[in-house]
Amino acid sequence: MTESIPVSQEEQNLYNRLRAGDMSALTTLYHENRTPVHSLVTRNSGSRHDSDDILHEALIILWQQIRTGRFELRARMGTFLYATARNLWLRRLSRRRKEPTADLSALEITDGSVSPLEMMVETEDSDAVRRSLDKLPDPCRSLLIAFYWEELPMKEIAEKFGLANAATAKAKKYQCKEQLKKILQRIS
């Protein structure tokens, strides 16, 4: 069980802004955590560009975790960012070296940090799906993003896309997924 640590009022305000969907709050976190992440990446065969890219990605993941309610402010957001960036960078390094995809369990998955699914996003399979998604027309693409990324419940998806109800949204999501699979088979 993770112990809660006291957080500052500033941190709390930042968290509230992110939870409310304020993306500009990420810039503050970016500047606060740039130096340690840069140091981590450049010490481990990375460039400044790599460190920026990794930090951007960690920020997006943090934001997503906050919005879906998975991240609670029991620890500093900087700690989460550092752990996420570290895992992402290790994953990317192993890819660059063309080593076999590391076993997810071998990676350090800290509490409140990256889930195994996040670790999958850079696999070749997921890359093929990403490319297929580019070819998938809206609203299917947006609907799948709302479901798999934003993790909105079916009721909210129905409201967002103007569908009759959750059951309709569920059927629509199934159709879109099948459409995506067809594109995936075509480009594979």
Partner: protein, 374 residues
């Protein structure tokens, strides 16, 4: 749980997105261990979820980069500043050199500081001449030989006329740029003169090295027949070069030292294409002296000439520098011949032979003359 829960879209998505915990998760995992098609379905769903998330992350990263703006593109300021500092230093050194030692960017005129240094150098050179004159006078009374250091300095530099006791001839360079000693004027008087003399020698040697190169170029156009008898010219290497270098004293030589037979040298028809006889003063001769001619003999026959009537002036012009050699002559009407050989300039006036020694070849055909003996 023995049913194939992966056939349920909601439960499959919920499992992949991490929405199931506790005992329920353990049961589902247990089933996956026993159901290969179920594992395959989970794998497909994970790939779709991961791909969609990858797509979303990429899109949102672009938005975030735009939001962060310039800070997303890291400018390597330390490196930029280092390069700028190096450029400033290099430009500074260049300007310093141009200001103190070099030329103006637009042409041949010297920079103001170089002009000031040139003036200083001029006074330093005069100081050096003073030293040389004093030394020369002192040694004139002690030993009239032409091998002393001061005379060697003069010979090397060509700045001062050579004034040897047994030899009334004099050698001097004109139109030659004064040597430059930038800090001579700041030195103590005694030290300054000594230093100036040394630097004058060194500086002029450098000037003459440059002269060598230009002389070599100019000499390529000079036919060998212009400086030698045709029968002798036929025996020398036509590819050899004419060089210009240091000048030494004019000496009276024995006729049997002349590399040419006396009878042949004293015979008529001595004027070769590059040996011109001009009547007048050295000033008028200068105007008639063409750059591509090596030697001009100027018999001074005019009564109001600055030189005495019993001497003549041999003028050699090369690359903007003119060497004047005053040669004693018994009869100015007698034909005069000037011959350049391996390391000397031979001047024949009547039955007298003068040689201008050139230790490093002020003017030489780099070739061997036939070993003819008189």
């Amino acid at each position: 749980m023995n049913d194939h829960w992966t056939k349920d879209e909601d439960r499959l998505s919920e499992y992949v997105l991490g929405g199931i915990t506790g005992d329920r998760l353990e049961e589902m995992r247990h089933h996956l261990n026993t159901c290969s098609p179920c594992r395959q379905r989970v794998k497909e769903e994970e790939a779709i979820a991961a791909g969609v998330r990858r797509h979303a992350i990429t899109e949102q990263k672009k938005q975030l980069q735009a939001l962060i703006g310039g800070s997303g593109i890291a400018i390597p300021w330390p490196r930029v500043l280092s390069i700028a500092a190096i450029l400033v230093i290099v430009a500074g050194i260049g300007l310093y050199n141009r200001w103190f030692f070099g030329m103006k960017p637009d042409g041949n005129e010297r920079s103001p500081m170089a002009e000031m240094q040139r003036e200083d150098a001029g006074s330093a050179a005069r100081d050096a001449e003073d030293i040389s004159d004093e030394t020369s006078k002192r040694e004139k009374s002690d030993q009239p030989a032409a091998t002393d250091i001061t005379a060697e300095s003069q010979r090397s530099t060509g700045l001062a006329s050579i004034d040897e006791p047994e030899d009334p001839a004099s050698v001097e360079f004109k139109d030659q740029e004064e040597s430059r000693q930038p800090y001579a004027s700041k030195m103590p008087a005694g030290k300054k003169k000594e230093w100036a003399a040394e630097k004058t020698v060194e500086s002029e040697v450098m000037e003459l090295d440059e002269l060598n190169e230009s002389g070599r170029q100019a000499a390529k156009n000079v036919p060998i027949e212009s400086v030698m008898e045709p029968d002798m010219a036929a025996q020398v290497d036509p590819d050899s070069e004419l060089l210009v270098s240091r000048v030494t004293a004019l000496r009276r030589r024995s006729a049997d030292q002349l590399p040419l037979p006396v009878d042949r040298s004293s015979s008529g028809g001595d004027t070769r294409p590059n040996t011109e006889s001009v009547t007048g003063t050295p000033e008028t001769a200068m105007s008639a002296l063409r750059p591509d001619r090596i030697i001009v003999v100027h018999p001074l026959s005019a009564p109001d000439a600055s030189e005495s009537a019993d001497s003549l002036t041999v003028m050699i012009r090369r690359s903007g520098d003119t060497l004047h050699v005053s040669v004693p002559v018994a009869d100015p009407e007698l034909p005069v011949r000037v011959v350049a050989t391996g390391d000397s300039l031979w001047i024949l006036t009547g039955q007298t032979v003068w040689s201008l020694l050139v230790p490093e070849r002020m003017m030489t055909r780099d070739r061997k003359l036939p070993s003819e003996k008189p």
